[in-house]
């Protein structure tokens, strides 16, 4: 199987499974009828968005999708919070929001264990919970929460591995810059990338792995990547766990005069898109569809309000992006045309 074939196969399947092992339902199957919409409109419901981290295009696009869809459903967003990857802060955020008794909370838990009791409190107060990517420990779909909508993180990890292999002609030495924290989605990608390379590409050797802790993920990645290139003069590629660290890897490659370095990552941020458009270091990435994810979550919240039976686990497939499909991919991911900065950079 060549990388291209593998990527093509990937387009039609979702590799991640739900928290309870549920097989994924496609987002396209989630929808509301005109009637249902009107019913929701009439409720005058309120919603809160509780994020884990707000520092990238992915989070912004999620919030965008949610706000857009909520507005269309006549639901008011009364609070948006950002925990900066800190579970204690996220618990406080949930508690605070509960003072306003929102009808809906859409959230991504920083930590399935630590935040569980706070979500539990909300669930018991009758709030409709919809999760992104990941659910708190011990939560049952249908009873405790409505549904979880996930990007296919495992699939994205796989995609970025095939893209790496493709750009390297299945041969070379690579390094990995991963998230040094036990965070569900970033761990999934890391596992998927590594497994895919090790199983499918004997010609590719992983010679360095380095975790980064944040909050300055770009700077951390820059230092890590620089050191990798110094210690392994013959390094051919580096994988970064999402686009923000990838930008640090780009800076390092540039500074070290390694114009030939191949970088792949996850998430279609503007900066990595520009680099890809220019034919720079980023040869490929697995895109999530954060805008659609947000829209789907909002719709599922509607299911909750109506007590309509919802699928337990909805997943959006991974979208492998290369220079060739960049502009279309942008359209698909963000539901808007790529910005001029990206378009003008296409060579």
């Amino acid at each position: 199987q060549t990388p291209d074939e593998a990527l093509a196969a990937l387009a039609n399947q979702t590799l991640s499974t739900g928290p309870g092992g549920e097989s994924p339902v496609s987002a396209s199957e989630v929808s509301l009828t005109e009637d249902e919409r009107a019913q929701i409109q009439a409720m005058g419901a309120t919603a809160a968005i509780v994020m884990h981290y707000g520092g990238d295009d992915w989070s912004q696009a999620q919030i965008n999708g949610l706000e857009t869809q909520f507005e269309a459903m006549g639901i008011e967003v009364i609070a948006t919070t950002d925990a900066g990857f800190n579970s204690a802060k996220q618990v406080s955020d949930i508690e605070t929001i509960m003072a306003q008794s929102p009808d809906i909370i859409v959230s991504i838990p920083t930590d399935p264990v630590a935040t569980a009791s706070a979500y539990r409190q909300a669930a018991e107060a009758g709030v409709e919970l919809v999760f992104m990517d990941n659910v708190p420990a011990g939560f049952e779909a249908g009873t405790d929460y409505v549904s979880v909508v996930s990007a296919d993180n495992y699939g994205n990890g796989v995609a970025s591995a095939h893209l790496m292999a493709k750009a390297l002609n299945e041969e070379g030495k690579i390094g990995i810059v991963y998230h040094a924290a036990d965070f569900f989605v970033t761990r999934q990608r890391f596992d998927a990338f590594k497994a895919t390379i090790e199983e499918n590409y004997p010609g590719i050797e992983i010679v360095a792995e380095q975790g980064i802790g944040g909050p300055d993920f770009t700077g951390d990645a820059d230092r890590a990547a620089s050191a990798m290139m110094v210690a392994n003069a013959d390094l051919d590629g580096i994988w970064a766990v999402w686009d923000v660290p990838a930008e640090g890897v780009i800076a390092a490659a540039r500074a070290n005069g390694r114009d030939d370095l191949v970088i792949t990552t996850i998430d279609l941020g503007e900066n990595v898109a520009i680099d890809m458009a220019r034919g720079g270091f980023i040869k490929g990435l697995g895109a999530q569809r954060p805008f659609d994810q947000g829209v789907t979550e909002a719709l599922l919240a509607g299911y909750g309000l109506l007590d309509k039976e919802a699928p337990a686990y909805v997943a959006l497939p991974a979208l492998p992006v290369e220079q060739a499909n960049l502009l279309d991919a942008w359209q698909e991911v963000y539901s808007t045309e790529a910005p001029a900065s990206v378009r003008d950079s296409m060579n």
Binding site: M51, G54, V77, I78, A79, T80, T81, D82, G84, F85, N86, S87, A88, V91, S92, D93, E95, T96, I97, M98, A99, Q100, S101, T110, D111, P112, V113, A114, T115, A116, S117, A137, A180, A181, D182
Partner: protein, 327 residues
């Protein structure tokens, strides 16, 4: 130190207020901020008992650490490791509970604090490395250790009694966290104001040379203060573990800044010699109220950050207006 004595002298209440007004900035600021939110957010549940208790719960760990930090700053030192130590203690406690039950957990948490405190204290008072550097280094060491022994994972606390005592439960309608905060606050206040130890802490911070010339073992006082700070940070970590039923290295991350901010806001000098535990707790509550109020207002995170900074400055500036001539 002066308030309790006012009565012994012939001074009008107004005179007393005028003399101590500057030290009481934080109380005025706190009231102003609270009233502001109470008025603007009354329909958003700000004043509901549950929300008020939430604020107390969310502030408790910061407040607990702020009590000890008041001693630290009063003695002219600083402790940047408290947040990381809290995280480490949450992990060691959770691991020990899993291994040997609640007593083991409590012992592990406290031992974590004692160990860290002795190392910090030894480096600072024997090797004369400024506490800024020792505790900054310790911040990394504690965080690294917590990540390492937990494999960066969250360690669940499955025991039911532990959370009930440490941070999770309620006694009647009152959250245990509130009781912890009150207990630590009262003890800290009495220690700083009423005990010989507290007097020595303030003297060491006010003028270390004069303290030494007065026969105070300045090194030992500093050592104690540093140990107390670390143990209190560990206690905060144990409360985090109880509240979240989890030990995790990230718990407490960044708290050092909130803690020091609460203490300085409360009127304690960064340069030593002056400290008020009550002020520190009010300082912590004020930050808690602001955080809570801004979220309830429905501001975006970016706007919350801006507003929080603005409110802190405004509260201090307003209460400071008119006292400038003394500068």
């Amino acid at each position: 130190m002066t308030d309790t004595l006012a009565a012994t002298r012939s001074e009008t209440p107004l005179g007393y207020f005028k003399r101590t007004w500057r030290q009481n900035i934080i109380y005025i600021g706190f009231i102003v901020v609270f009233l502001f939110f109470a008025l603007t957010l009354h329909d958003k549940g700000f004043l509901t008992p549950n929300n008020i208790l939430n604020i107390a719960r969310q502030t408790a760990m910061i407040a607990v650490m702020a009590v000890a930090m008041t001693l630290v700053l009063s003695s002219g030192e600083i402790d940047l490791s408290v947040g990381a130590v809290a995280g480490l203690a949450s992990v060691t406690t959770a691991m020990a509970i899993a291994w040997g039950g609640v007593p083991a957990g409590i012992a592990a948490g406290i031992m974590t604090g004692v160990t860290v405190g002795l190392i910090n204290g030894f480096l600072s008072t024997r090797l004369m490395i400024p506490t800024f550097l020792t505790t900054l280094a310790m911040m990394g060491i504690a965080k690294g250790t917590a990540m390492w022994i937990s494999g960066t994972a969250a360690i669940p606390v499955l025991d039911r009694t532990y959370p009930a005592i440490f941070g999770g439960g309620n006694i009647g309608p009152i959250p245990t966290l509130l009781l912890w905060m009150l207990a630590v606050g009262v003890i800290g206040h009495v220690v700083l104001r009423r005990t010989k130890f507290g007097r020595q802490v303030l003297a060491v911070g006010g003028n270390v040379v004069a303290a030494r010339y007065s026969g105070i073992n300045t090194g030992r006082i500093k050592l104690w203060v540093i140990v107390i700070s670390a143990v209190t940070a560990a206690l905060a970590g144990m409360l985090y573990a109880g509240r979240l039923q989890t030990g995790r290295f990230q718990l407490g991350e960044g708290d050092e800044l909130s803690v020091i901010a609460a203490v300085v806001l409360g009127g304690t000098s960064l340069f030593g010699g002056k400290g008020t535990v009550v002020g520190s707790i009010i300082g912590a509550l004020m930050i808690g109220v602001i955080n809570n109020g801004l979220i309830l207002m429905g501001l975006e995170y970016s706007q919350q950050l801006i507003a929080r900074g603005g409110i802190i400055i405004l509260a201090v500036a307003l209460s400071q207006a008119g006292t400038r001539t003394n500068g």
